[in-house]
């Protein structure tokens, strides 16, 4: 019922769009009717273009996310638990963080050339910051008494991180990673559109330049679906994997 209600508006729009395209009978290089888009999507799915391009984009985005987010996770724990390091790094972070990853595309091409290497590096750079900032804030917000407990019980540093700090901040790190996942997809597609001959972004650019609006729109919709699916998968994982810890955040 809920799903049905949610679908009313988009379906109505599609119908209006389809009728308008047919009635006016336009022959456009920049527009396509929903039926044409659906046909193009089906064809690109069947001949393997979309699955192959999606795999390329996801490979670059997720590898970059793993590298960028993973190193940010470690860095934020160090910053959070060793205040002198945080003070030392603060200036460098504030200077580097606002640099848009896109601005580094020329730098990356020059030093790494085209291919996965440069795309992954740029995604890693872009996803590093949200995880670092969110993670650092999450650790700063840990209940101080929990850290006192870990000191009184004389937990080792490793024990403190794995048994107290990470479980206490896990829900927040998950939010950070969901954010970073969205960023990773945006940056990967942007890099592909701007320069890299790989992935959905490149296919999208090719469709646009070869005047195939039907395929172009099909790919745009597909990217949206991929992003939505990724976020959904992460949400599901959050509920499944971290039941009690995620619950703790809600209960607080």
């Amino acid at each position: 019922m809920k799903l049905l209600k949610a679908l009313v508006l988009p379906v109505a729009l599609l119908i209006v769009w389809e009728i308008a395209m047919r009635v006016s009978g336009v022959q456009s290089d920049s527009l396509a009717a929903p039926s044409q888009i659906a046909v193009a999507f089906y064809a690109a799915m069947l001949d393997g273009t979309i699955p192959r391009r999606t795999a390329e984009t996801l490979r670059a985005a997720l590898t970059g996310l793993a590298i960028g987010g993973g190193s940010a996770l470690v860095a934020s724990i160090v910053l959070g638990l060793v205040p002198p390091v945080a003070r030392l790094m603060q200036f460098s972070i504030e200077v580097l963080r606002p640099v848009p990853a896109v601005a580094l595309i020329p730098v990356a091409i020059l030093s790494l050339g085209f291919g996965y290497g440069m795309e992954i590096s740029l995604v890693a750079f872009a996803t590093f910051w949200p995880v670092l900032i969110y993670g650092h804030a999450a650790i700063a917000n840990i209940e101080p008494q929990l850290l006192d407990v870990s000191r009184v019980l004389r937990l080792s540093t490793f024990g403190r991180v794995t048994k107290v700090v990470l479980p206490a901040t896990l829900p927040r790190y998950f939010v950070a990673f969901r954010l970073a996942t969205a960023v990773s997809l945006i940056v990967a597609v942007t890099v592909e559109i701007a320069a890299n001959p790989l992935g959905i972004g490149y296919e999208l650019m090719t469709a646009s330049q070869s005047l195939h609006p039907d395929l172009m729109f099909a790919l745009v919709l597909w990217i949206g679906l991929v992003g939505w699916g990724l976020n959904g998968a992460l949400l599901l994982a959050q509920r499944r994997l971290f039941g009690p810890a995620a619950m703790a955040e809600i209960a607080r």
Binding site: R151, V152, L153, L155
Partner: protein, 267 residues
Amino acid sequence: MPNVSPLPRTEAAGATPLIAFRGVSHVFGTRPVLQDINLTVGKSEFVCMVGPSGCGKTTMLRMVGGLQTPTVGEVTFGGKRVTGPAQEISFMFQDYSKALLPWRTAAGNVSLALEASGVPSGERVARIKDLLGKVGLANHADHFPAQLSGGMQQRVQIARCLAQEPSVLLMDEPFGALDAMTRQALQDEILRIIEASRTTVLFVTHDLEEAIYLGDRVVALYPNPGRIAQVFEVDLPKPRNQLTTRESPAFLRLRRALFDFIREGEA
């Protein structure tokens, strides 16, 4: 002053004190919180510290627990200067809702202390069962803190402290947030437990009756900066009883003396 004659003694009975504050002063930023504290606590003694907020009683406890280093002077445990948390010293926090790991069950929280002191995982299950039984939570091992009442959560904390097998138990207003009935039950519980293990206890409270009921000595502090004002000996027979002890003339005299004293301090 009434005829109980509080002794100005801050030295514990016995030759070597287990815990000693020697000329301890402490400053937070520019605010002095403790001034020239000299106090010794003997083995198996139950010392209660009372005083208004700002008298530094929690800070004193944190110093013994190795969570805070005094600006001036030293705190010793067993003759050695305290430089950090020790295995034999266990700390029970006031706010149980923030002292237990919310993502671990009651058993898991007790297990944390055992994991920290390197008890092999094979032995833990039996030890946890034993400890939770001791505090009357045998049937709640699988409950998360959020599913337990305040009194039960504080019992979990007691079990976790006992898991350390401490010779000293530091308690920071542990029953302050509990209702009266639960508080009395836990007071008796703690007396019973430490009676068996001969544990030394430093107990911070602002409930004067609780201090008299539990303590062998009651240390009263002045605030801003915290100073030891007076030390009261509690000569009440043990084991203590919620009804007869609290009705005994000696209890009432002490209660009167402490109330008068605190009122004077506020005036």
